[in-house]
Symmetry: C2
Subunit: 588 residues, 2 copies
Amino acid sequence: MPTRLTNYFLRTLREDPSDAEVTSHKLLVRAGYIRRQAPGIFAWLPLGLRVKARIEQIIREEMTAAGAHEVHFPALLPREPYEATGRWEEYGDGIFRLKDRKDADYLLAPTHEEVFTLLVKDLYSSYKDLPLSIYQIQDKYRDEARPRAGLLRGREFTMKDAYSFDYTDEGLDTSYMAQRDAYERIFTRLGLDYVIVQADAGAMGGSRSEEFLHPTPVGEDTFVRSAGGYAANVEAFTTLAPPTRGYEKLTPQEVLDTPDTPTIQTLVDVANEKHPRPDGRPWTAADTLKNVVLALTHLDGTRELVVVGLPGDREVDLKRAEVAFAPAEVDAATEDDFRKHPGLVKGYIGPWSAEGPVLGEEAATGIRYVVDPRVVDGSGWITGANVEGKHVFGLVAGRDFGWDGTVEVAEVKPGDPAPDGSGPVELARGMEIGHVFQLGRKYAEALGLKVLAENGKLVTVTMGSYGIGVTRILAIIAEENNDEKGLVWPAAVSPFDVHVVAAGREAVAFEVAEQAAAALEAAGLEVLLDDRPKVSPGVKFGDAELIGIPRVLVAGRGAAEGEVELWDRRNGERSTLPLAEAIAALTA
Amino acid sequence: MPTRLTNYFLRTLREDPSDAEVTSHKLLVRAGYIRRQAPGIFAWLPLGLRVKARIEQIIREEMTAAGAHEVHFPALLPREPYEATGRWEEYGDGIFRLKDRKDADYLLAPTHEEVFTLLVKDLYSSYKDLPLSIYQIQDKYRDEARPRAGLLRGREFTMKDAYSFDYTDEGLDTSYMAQRDAYERIFTRLGLDYVIVQADAGAMGGSRSEEFLHPTPVGEDTFVRSAGGYAANVEAFTTLAPPTRGYEKLTPQEVLDTPDTPTIQTLVDVANEKHPRPDGRPWTAADTLKNVVLALTHLDGTRELVVVGLPGDREVDLKRAEVAFAPAEVDAATEDDFRKHPGLVKGYIGPWSAEGPVLGEEAATGIRYVVDPRVVDGSGWITGANVEGKHVFGLVAGRDFGWDGTVEVAEVKPGDPAPDGSGPVELARGMEIGHVFQLGRKYAEALGLKVLAENGKLVTVTMGSYGIGVTRILAIIAEENNDEKGLVWPAAVSPFDVHVVAAGREAVAFEVAEQAAAALEAAGLEVLLDDRPKVSPGVKFGDAELIGIPRVLVAGRGAAEGEVELWDRRNGERSTLPLAEAIAALTA
């Protein structure tokens, strides 16, 4: 039986919702798919629930094909497992916490690594039980600071999260690739463009990690890619270090007065004027070494200053810095920090000074000095002299100063070489639609998941974690498939296969529409039938266009002659043809 | 493709879980269907999820047939709607409350009347939009004080909750019956016995209310039923009051010394000795009027004493009292209460005394006197004289004392007459599996849901609420369908249609099992194939019996001759027959 609009729970709206900032949010509300309940929390109306179910069905089929079995965990979980892995604290304000009537701590789970690990520990004990891949499609919770953008970043959202369990690294690689391949099939079936980028392991711990990004100018993630095939999240991009050089031919460093050089550019100008490069090429910002003071806040609440040396033509990218110093939080140092450390001469900080190894002394009092990968042995720099009004020229790394480590905190720029040698990279924006991740043994170790191996010894299990944001994907598909009239769903996820419209007041139009709907349903298609008796054709057409089922059959003026109109919402084509031919075309 | 046990996520257990009190809980854990995460909170393993999905599918089909459309609301909801209807407070400790990062109040919804009402208010405005029935299948939360009995009473549980919206009382009746009929079809398809009993409206407000109870000795609800077709929850049972009588022929009341009558029986003995009934029939406890002091705690926290007069052969049923005095909480009065009210002479409380109208005076200070429906005008009683050591005989209701109201708080006893005249009732125990409920206009009024009627005037919408406990039903089915070897699922909800076992070490057994599984899957059945290579037939048979798929096909000794064994778990029959005949029998 077709679904009839006469008693369907649907109300299309003419106005965009006032709180909607993105197209998908506006259209999904206006066309009657979702309805806001609280910031970042939505109810699903019948049309929306159908699209969601179709996406979930595609995911289920591909999970089954990948050998994963479906389970379902509660959203409400006790604190203890998350305490054992440290995430109860790490999540900070980002999760919903609550207490039960006995004052026990619970959370609304943002992700389920811990309890999947414990479940397998609970039931399995032998290598013979492995490999195992299990998944769920489940509602998750994150207490986002600014839940905007509708379903793109909600506080309640649906995810497919899968977890693999192996006892060898090779097994993990195989399980990982099975999920990765399934993701490629899923996104292909959903008609969603994607780029697989190397990702940072981030707060999840672990080793190999890739994100599926949907490239879109409104994406919140930046990624880099080269023509040669390299792709990575900016957070995961690694700098191709220049070769080291010997010191033999290098001139000694020289300290010069450089008053009035508040910026890198003024310093470069002074350098070109007072201390030109011997070969005549002008100095550029890339020849200067900028020393930036960052303040790290560690998990235990302690605050640490760290000085980062990086080429003067680059800023610190705070997102990359957060990854480099994870799990600490990273901020710029404050005036107060500088007051407490008079050795840090603002505007003139350097790794070494004519008056003495200032940073060396500071290091002894707890300030680390770390550098960008471009600072290699033998590289020479114009940098601060740790004295007001003075810079040093020709300061050579390794000869004149050392460092406590190398960090990836400098911004990535278009044209930077890809680390795999595949050429210069470009920057693009994307939205994360999936994430595959080798967790390794982090969770299994924290929670004691071991199995007996062939040799009779206990081995710690190695795990993978694989996530797809179901509701986010739905929003992205809506974001990518619309026009000025409304949504235009890809057939694979459309709430119905065909939208049949009885247009006009003639009884015959309704009769033909009924015939068409019955024939299409008999052929196995799902039909939405607009049989509203007193609604004008114009309103019905407008609703059909807003709702966005890609194939529309209109029984109207030609109905008496047995003719109907077929619309293709995706390419805009309309054709008039006999009913039987229309049915044949739709069921072909 | 069949699902293979070689890599399925399943581990059957030999021992009952230590925390399990009921059979369904023990078997569902042992057979690998569910796994406890916290008190009253469970994870669903693959087998359990399949049974749950089958139950949900049956419910969906019948909801669709009843004209209801599926939606889905969040579990996490803001406080405001529940505040508007008073339920935020009413739920007391029974719900999970939490705050977000901005300190706003939220709850994990135990039921969704408020937000369904608001959604319809949000989108609909005309009588033309009605009737409307919408439902969801969704995870709900209640912070039960003692989550026991596995899935029978969990803290996280799945429900189907439907809501109907009409603008006339007749419309509500029609919507109500459509859901009620659907429930009958659902329980019939699930093979679940049920009794439809009149139910009390309880905390939900509203008018017509019926519960679907599954009769079972371990049920937590008591209900009454007569041979003539009456059935009601004990809380909803109403007493058939005796006829009133004139006072003309009744003798005056008389106060007598009755020391040493601490109990009703001693009082009856004294009465028969000192004040025999004129017609010679002995007095019984039913001739005495017991006056019980109850303490009510109202929603605003105030405490009120109330005296209830009821026949001496009956106790107060606190569950019925909770309903009679809802939403107040009801307790027995304490010693302290008696100390504060010296007029209440413990053991000798009566509605009237020879020394004066004691209760009348107390009533002026705030104590209400209410009576059982059997206390009617002209009925005579032996009761306390409000003086230590004295009782009054032949005290006539209406002549000698009055009351402030009639309440249904006395226990119901087998043999009590059904209020509809259909004969004496018996008491039985059952478990609630569904509830259909005419909410009326309570929620629509509280939340302002009105529509424009034909006459152009705004009318308040009238609503119904209809719930089925999905996970509870699953547990009850397990509770009712098992034997000493394990579960025995009804075919309609079995996780798979056929369990195929390759028994023994002969390759041919595995080949025949594979053939059988392939043929059955090709015929549209879902098959669980036990293809574990190194597991003994005994272990495989034990697992098959524990898991409880009703039809088992074993490829074992006769496999080389093309013969297999068919087991019917429900009736225990086993037969050996050629593979083709077995397939034919299973797909018939």
